[in-house]
């Protein structure tokens, strides 16, 4: 569960990125976070992953109080989150399986756990037949599936996807979004940051709109249709 209460964030250069954000995302929810560039979406992701600390306000993520979290606890917070990026961020020299193994190794998984978990996740994202390929041998959609598999492999309670379809064509974008929806149905909380209006409107999910560091709308089953803003 995510809880942001009166969150303000001002960077060292004086930029006021967030101005009093209140947001709650419950376990098992699927929410889109939408807004123009510079609206504060990335800052919210950085706050949730403890890359930056809020200037003011209270912040809870998956049971961790990020106002009082100690640096050595941050890795354990991050293990409850799976993060997906627009540019995939896969290790080019490693195969699909090795990318996933790497993600499990870094949290101390045993070889037995790895052997058991990876085939299941690859099956889930539909990449079982490409497990021995390197990222540069895969299409953009497939690479993003690998990134999703990597985010999933440590069984996080929440996935944060930062523009996951930004580099994909409409058909691949739809497939990725459907995959995220399916993962959500299996119980993982999903927060998707996106610009893609048509894609958001195709799914009847909660839509949180942010502009100039403030939430301007928050509707369940909402639409991303504010032409003047976005």
């Amino acid at each position: 569960m995510i809880r942001l209460i009166d969150i303000y964030k001002t960077y060292d250069n004086g930029t006021k990125a967030l101005k009093g954000i209140n947001l709650r995302i419950d376990d098992g929810e699927f929410a889109f976070l939408v807004g123009p560039s510079g609206s504060g979406k990335s800052t919210i992701i950085k706050l949730l992953t403890a890359e930056v600390a809020p200037t003011e306000g209270r912040l809870m993520v998956n049971g961790y109080n990020l106002n009082t979290i100690r640096p050595r606890q941050v890795p354990y917070l991050r293990r409850t989150l799976g993060v997906i990026f627009q540019d995939f961020r896969l290790i080019e020299k490693k195969t699909v399986t090795e990318n996933l193994t790497f993600a499990m190794r870094v949290v101390g998984a045993s070889s037995r756990e790895i052997r058991k978990r990876i085939p299941y996740v690859l099956e889930l994202v539909g990449l079982s037949k490409k497990k021995d390929m390197c990222p540069n041998q895969l299409s953009g959609g497939e690479q993003q599936r690998v990134a999703i598999a990597r985010a999933l492999v440590n069984n996080p309670s929440m996935i944060i996807a930062d523009e996951p379809t930004g580099n994909l064509d409409p058909q691949r974008s739809l497939e990725i979004m459907m995959l995220l929806e399916r993962i959500n149905e299996l119980g993982t909380t999903m927060l998707v940051v996106t610009h893609e209006k048509e894609l958001v409107n195709r799914f009847s999910k909660r839509v949180v709109a942010i502009e100039s560091g403030r939430i301007i709308s928050d509707e369940t089953g909402g639409y991303y249709n504010n032409e003047t803003t976005f």
């Binding site: 992953t49 890359e51 050595r72 890795p75 354990y76 917070l77 991050r78 293990r79 993060v83 961020r89 290790i91 020299k93 790497f102 993600a103 190794r105 870094v106 949290v107 101390g108 998984a109 045993s110 756990e113 990597r150 440590n154």
Partner: protein, 299 residues
Amino acid sequence: MRQRFNFSYFVSEGFHSIFTHGLMSFAAVCMIVACLLIMGSFSLVAVNVGNMLGELERDNEFLAYVDETIPEEEEAALQKTLEAVPNVASVEFISKETAKENYVEQYANGEDAELFLNLPDEVFRDRYSIKVRDIEQFSATVSAVESVPGIVNIQAIPEIAQGFVVISNVASGVAIILVVMLVVMSLFIIANTIKLGTFTRRDEIAIMKMCGATNSFVRWPFVVEGMILGLVGAVVAFLLQWGVYSLIGQAIETSDTIQLITIIPFQTLALKVFGIFCGTGLVVGVGGSMVAIGKFLQV
């Protein structure tokens, strides 16, 4: 999931990284070898200079003349009294007869030989040849011996001893400064070399951090990598040092003009040199890795 200390994983990652970034690894090893060779060469020169000075120090002695008017039993007890003087290493009695023989042997050559033929023993005094332990205390020891009852005169050249002390101190000082400078420079160069390698892997580190890796988990493979590079560099530097030292040693031994210089055999120093090289290689390799990885952990 509990984080376990997976040493075999860290070692395999360390080796993997070395071969994956072969050129950077080669550069790092070359830097370690170069720095250790320079440091080792200066240190070995300092050790040899110190050894030669030590030999000269050991040969540096002074003479204490015995009062010929004191009774025989007092003269017999003098040796023990002199041996008890602080900083005295050895005391050797030279009778006036022996002193005369030595003198004649030294000076009665050629045409002047007749002049020394009928010298009476009484012209000479019984004496003690005294060697000191610490040459820096030479003057104080001479004064102490001079004040011993029964000693009437001293023949010593404290300036020579003082010269040895100055040369020895300067040589040690220069060696220490050079070694410290070279270690710091090595650390800096290795840190930067490994930092370049780390920079190419910053995305990998960011992914590890985002997946929930602890700082120590991220750091260990780099530390192992630094250890391996440091040790490989140390072994290569040791072998090269051995070769260079032996070649120079042979050249000095076979030279007609610099025979005064004595070189300590490398075998005598090998274990110590190997230990110091490995220790320095490890410190530089691991230290360099730690410095290099530091800023990439702040994600």
